[in-house]
Amino acid sequence: MLCVYIRHISPSIHHLSLMGSMSNKSEIRLLGTTASPYVNRVQFALNLKSIEYEYVQEDLKAGKSELLLTSNPVHKKVPVLLHADKPPICESQIIVEYLDEIRPDLYQLLPSLSLDRANSRFWATYIDTKFFPLYEELRRTTKKAGQDAIKEEMIDATQLLEEAFIKSSNGKAYFGGDRVGYLDVILGCFLRWIKHVDELNDFNTFDEVRVPELAKWANNIWSHEALESVAPGKETLVYFFGLIHVYRPPYQ
């Protein structure tokens, strides 16, 4: 399993793996940082599926974590899932699908029909490769013309997501219909980060007029217990943004 960056912090991971083999074989450990939406995504899924896990917080102030930060920890290194004595699983979407497959009986996240599953995976890819990167771009763009162009892209992207939501939800509250599903988890984890970037840039991603259904959805998901319990508070976000600003500074 490729976790190149994890090797830098491997002493702690190997230690944990060894510990795992001495204790309960089904023990699940999640390595993460509270402010990472990708970590929240996995926690959201774990909570929904009532899977017990041990959360191992990466200390952002410790020496090893500087390595994490310089190699883009938010998007690349965390989350990492350790299951018993198996090598780590990386990439949040892959972890969520893995969790869905090892506990298929408890709160199924991906839909049952092959076409619906393909559709869910399609939008998950869109969200991760086209939608959310816009927020990092916006954070790092200082010139107004550039910022305006990115906001236009965000407006287009949210329009697409609004249409996707309407098709997927079938008049219900979530992408998953009556209850939270895969896409709710995939997109929902970004809400607090998005709100923070919005506030810093005089923008409103989930505007009620532009994207009324998504706006309603965002309100529902924001306070969903399985997510709210693990989402970062304002202080944590501000602190984390401060760090990110140093390690991935705005473009000149």
């Binding site: 490729l2 699983i89 990439e91 699908e97 092959s114």
Partner: protein, 222 residues
């Protein structure tokens, strides 16, 4: 059982991503209608079936589109789950590995390989070469002594990568490198995959790909 008659593939002959889908369909023995797209003049059907990205490949099954090659391959495995072989392992942990490596090919191999003919200037090209070899060596590390990328069976991760073997001759020529010599395990894996009809009868000849890239470069005035 999913019907085989109503399967259309919108594709471009030399696309590594389209080739993945063709290999998967061949593995399962699924009959389909192949439609070649002119990427300079995309068909109304393509624009209708993939409005978000307007890209090939698009699999249209019983009138419904499936986009993104790795997603299409998984769809094929699920929709025709009763047809062997399976394209993904049955063990969830191995499935996670398969998805990871298929994703790795997209994020790392494709990007690094493209740079070889897209960069100008000797210095940048040297950097691109180094990057590509590093990435291919990571794949070799994953292969280890195994016959295929994940476990004992040919599957999603192999399907994701094997079309890029068509690029090796071109990369060797333009990049003045020798991928097979630097990555012998990977070369052996390519040969092993080529023993499968689904691969050998589907992949275009590497020289054809080289001609195609030279044509592209000519058009851009290189």
């Amino acid at each position: 059982m999913a019907g085989s008659d109503d399967v259309i593939l919108l594709d471009f002959w030399v696309s590594a991503f389209g080739l993945r889908v063709r290999i998967a369909l061949a593995e399962k023995g699924i009959h389909y209608e192949y439609r070649e797209e002119n990427l300079q003049n995309k068909s109304p059907l393509l624009l209708e079936m993939n409005p978000v990205h307007k890209k090939i490949p698009v699999l249209i099954h019983q009138g419904k589109p499936v986009c993104e090659s790795n997603i299409i391959v998984q769809y094929i495995d699920e929709a025709w789950h009763d047809k062997s072989p399976s394209l993904l392992p049955s063990d969830p942990y191995l499935r996670a590995q398969a998805r990871f490596w298929a994703d790795f090919v997209d994020k790392k191999v494709y990007e690094a390989a493209k740079k070889i003919w897209m960069t100008e200037g000797e210095e940048d090209r040297q950097v691109a070469k180094k990057e590509l070899i590093e990435v291919l060596k990571v794949l070799e590390g994953q292969l280890g002594e195994k016959p295929y990328m994940v476990g004992e069976s040919f599957g999603l991760a192999d399907i994701a990568m094997i079309p890029f073997s068509v690029w090796f001759h071109t990369l060797n020529e333009i990049g003045k490198m020798n991928i097979e010599r630097e990555c012998p395990k990977l070369a052996a894996w390519v040969n092993r995959c080529m023993e499968r009809e689904s691969v050998s009868k589907t992949l275009p000849h590497p020289h054809k790909f080289y001609e195609f890239v030279l044509e592209m470069q000519k058009k851009k005035g290189h």
